[in-house]
Amino acid sequence: MEPVLVTVQLKKHYGPIQAVNGLDLAVQKGSVYGILGPNGSGKTTTLGMLLGITNPTSGSFSWFGKGQIDDNRKRIGSLLEQPNFYPYLTGEQNLKVVALIKGVDEKEIDGVLSAVNLLDRKKSQARTYSLGMRQRLALASALLGNPDVLLLDEPTNGLDPQGIAEVRDFIRNQSAQGRTIILASHILDEVEKVCTHVSVIKKGNLLAQGTVNDLLKGEDQVEIAGDNLAALAEQLVNYPGIKRTELLSGNILLHVEEGFNPAALNKYFSDKQIHLSHLVARKKRLEEQFLELTAE
């Protein structure tokens, strides 16, 4: 697999604020790559550098193995924060400007407009569009020229549930057609639902990078308690299927592998004449995991 995008120690400092602090990212062709981080973590700043509008303080990046040349951007369809259009131009005229910039045939405009259901409003001024329509016009604009990569920054921001579902379908669809997608979001659920890969950033630092399955899949946990927690823990040292044991104040938290059988654990203890006062098996919720990843 060839990487579509590689960044090396990418940094952006605004005075004392370290908005992006040495990111090393690698996005493979065909993946849906999520950049997940809380508000202010540096997602937009990162994408801004990748799109040539924010000058990096240091570090470098390379699109398509071709470095930072301006023409790379003609192969990328992007929606960065809110959609930006000439409000007094019609939807169609706005796309003509984009087509001219990208060197794309104007005949493609109707196609992308119908892909986002805006064809019937193409003669209306962009200022008369609703937020959702503007978002769709931006997606149409991003599709012009059949780009290899779609780069979307919080594309569901401000949309109603139906709009959100539409955008997610759109992303899945585009991915199914073989496009690489980079999606920045602070919504874990969104990344989990549409992405194949994810990097988690916080305060400009990369916390983790990998496949969504490895990083965000809900982890199985078992909570146990008994008279003597220390003795319990001792018995668990060589027990199979336990990844990590956490000794808490009133109980023990076991991080276990998938398919772990709590009944067998209970029997193991009773065979040793140890009786558990508490045994709960549960799946850790994704939110918790995200909070853990991004906690101080």
Partner: protein, 259 residues
């Protein structure tokens, strides 16, 4: 090159403020010819002396230079709009180079300067035909050097607009600061602060006093002395140098800053 100009025209032509401002500019250009008699009168001259060939080129361009303030404000608007609508950012995201965004504006300025110069030439020829004494009808393009001076002044003023729009980003603020620079600041600097004569070639002085000078001798002598026949090479050179300077600084700013 043509592609950049096409992009700019695509943005400009449907823009209502452009239509209104350009219409006002055209109206002023026509109005001057219509009201020229009154202007001649206030100067103590006959209409033929002001509106006839070849003096019309000096007098007409003198006023037309002021009308160019409208085109300058137009350029400030469209430059500032690219920042307030965040479309400059979008254009670059879509694949335009930063340098190209400035090139496109410069091409538009050159185009508008050519158009305004054509407007001036055509209406000047017509005005002269109407007002010239029969004996002067053949002197149509004598003193035509002022037409070229007007072209340079148009370039320079709009380039100044590009600079103000780029520097201040917000259209309203940029226009106000431009107007302040146009009237009090430049005048005070020239008359009050800089040593005598050294401010003669400040940008505003160059564009409003030097390229097309007021034909003082002609007026004082009630038309006995001739008007100047063309702008001086020095004033044209300085005027053009400022045009390049303003565009160049705009380019440097656009190149450097985060958008």
């Amino acid at each position: 090159m043509l592609r950049l100009l096409r992009i700019e025209l695509l943005k400009l032509i449907p823009y209502r403020t452009f239509k209104i401002l350009f219409l006002i500019y055209l109206l002023l250009m026509v109005l001057w010819l219509v009201g020229g008699k009154g202007i001649a009168n206030t100067l103590g001259l006959t209409p033929e002396q002001v509106l006839g060939y070849p003096n019309i080129w000096n007098y007409y361009t003198l006023y037309a230079c002021y009308f160019n303030i409208i085109l300058t404000i137009l350029i400030i608007f469209i430059t500032g709009n690219e920042y307030t609508y965040r479309t400059l950012r979008q254009n670059i995201i879509d694949g335009l180079q930063r340098t190209e965004t400035v090139q496109a504006k410069v091409l538009l300025i050159i185009t508008l300067s050519i158009i305004s110069t054509i407007v001036l030439t055509i209406s000047g020829v017509i005005g002269g035909l109407i007002y010239s004494a029969d004996a002067d009808k053949g002197r149509m393009l004598e003193h035509g050097g002022f037409i070229f001076g007007y072209f340079i002044q148009s370039l320079g003023m709009m380039s100044m607009g590009l600079f103000f729009g780029t520097l201040f980003k917000r259209t309203g603020l940029a226009v106000i600061i431009f107007l302040i620079f146009l009237f009090p600041v430049d005048v005070i600097l020239r008359a009050g602060i800089l040593p005598d004569g050294s401010g003669d070639y400040m940008p505003v002085a160059t564009y409003f006093l030097k390229i097309v000078p007021f034909p003082l001798d002609h007026v004082m002598s009630h038309g006995e002395e001739p008007t100047a026949s063309a702008p001086t090479m020095l004033s044209l050179g300085v005027g053009f140098a400022y045009a390049v300077l303003f565009a160049g600084i705009s380019w440097m700013i656009t190149k450097k800053r985060d958008l």
